[in-house]
């Protein structure tokens, strides 16, 4: 029995190391399946919870054009959630679980979502910063996983990344208008950046398990679910966006932030990882409210799901 398992695992690792893609019904070790379920259901639910702070801005968007664009983005995010939940539930099927279990895990707090979606978005400046920098950060981590060893996840990410390009440009368009606007608009943008900076650094997760007590980075790299560490991604983010933020005359709320030429890396004030842990475990400023909104809409819409599900009468 053990010999067969070893044979399976050797063959599996060979496939991964040869760049082959693993499909839903293929043999896979339990911890590979578990790692995928954890990663993809968290990603999928984050897309859905991530639509909530932006959705608050649909009725309040400053122009009709902005309203159409942010509505399209919110719809895309929900669509991304749908894709990812599909991928997750195919992995969960052999365990006798489905989408309902994912939702229940979210409602009970067992399933976490990205730290950024626990935060407030009080002004239109926040809507701009979210689309420009939160989506910018998400694009960096999603494109890194395009080559993931799990075929269905890679295919979902390919679709998602294609749409993210629109999101990033939508964000750039908002912040550019504010940055080139009145003094009041520039202040709005600066305030939003001040609010979001720490969350953006936290977005990529801690450097290692030293910060939060545990990390899945090593296993995920070994299984080629990801190819870069949290810190590598954060450095890429800083390289990509800090010069652009500065070029607009904005101030990043971290006086220690600088590029160390010798080490060829960014130095920054490490965020408070105990605060991060508090936020992602459902104790952020908006965690409870957004979760309650999700529960309420799930319950209130149940009759719609039921009504739509009635089989059409065939003539």
């Amino acid at each position: 029995m053990e010999a067969v398992y070893q044979q399976n695992i050797d063959h599996f690792m060979d496939r991964i190391n040869n760049g082959e893609k693993i499909e839903a019904d293929d043999w896979m070790p339990d911890d590979y399946r578990e790692a995928l379920i954890r990663l993809i259901s968290m990603h999928g639910i984050s897309e859905i919870m991530g639509a909530l702070p932006e959705k608050e801005w649909v009725p309040k968007a400053p122009t009709l054009h902005r309203k159409l664009a942010i509505m399209a983005k919110v719809q895309d995010e929900m669509g991304h959630g749908q894709l990812l939940l599909r991928v997750a539930e195919d992995l969960m099927a052999p365990l006798g679980k489905n989408r309902d279990d994912i939702m229940k895990d979210l409602f009970s707090g067992r399933l976490k979502f990205h730290n950024v979606f626990h935060m407030e978005a009080p002004t239109w400046g926040d809507a701009g910063i979210i689309a420009w920098l939160v989506d910018g950060a998400a694009i960096i981590s999603q494109t890194m996983m395009l080559g993931t060893s799990y075929g269905p996840y890679g295919r979902a990410l390919k679709r998602i990344c294609a749409e993210e390009v629109f999101h990033a440009q939508h964000g750039e368009s908002i912040i550019m208008a504010l940055a080139e606007g009145t003094e009041e608009q520039r202040e709005l943008l600066q305030d939003a950046l001040n609010r979001w900076w720490t969350s953006l650094l936290m977005f990529f997760g801690p450097k290692s398990k030293n910060e939060t007590g545990h990390s899945n980075q090593d296993k995920n790299m070994q299984y080629k679910l990801r190819t870069k560490t949290n810190e590598q991604l954060r450095q890429e983010f800083l390289t990509k966006y800090v010069p652009r933020i500065w070029s607009l005359g904005l101030t990043i709320p971290d006086p220690t932030l600088r590029f160390d030429e010798e080490k060829s890396e960014w130095e920054y004030a490490d965020p408070d990882w105990s605060e991060f842990k508090k936020i992602v475990t459902g104790n952020g400023p908006k965690s409870k409210e957004r979760l309650a909104l999700r529960v309420r809409s799930y319950e209130m819409n149940s009759w719609v799901r039921e009504a739509l599900g009635k089989r059409p009468q065939h003539i």
Binding site: D26, W27, G79, Q82, R86, D90, E163, G309
Partner: protein, 113 residues
Amino acid sequence: MSDAEKDFYQVYEVFSKKTDTAPLQYQFSLLAPNRELAFIMAKENFFRREQPADIWVVKRDDIRTMTQEEREGIKNLDKAYRETKGYGYLKKKWRKYEQEQLTEKDIMGGGNS
């Protein structure tokens, strides 16, 4: 959860064509309670921007796909005898007779050259 609730959603696979003459292309899967809704969801989920020439939705249970074993079994079959690359050596042979080997184009074109 009751069995009825568990069976409420079915997995549908979505395919589409970009143009009338394009081959059918796989898009992704979705969950829907019936075929009509699967079709509506397919449009909402996968064609928010792109204008397709046609969309197909098929219940996954009705599709037979290859197993891992079948996919791996078929991978390394040598079928050179079914392809032109299996007959590349003829080029040299014909040269010996001071003739050019007819290319695929020559053969398909009815031997114009």
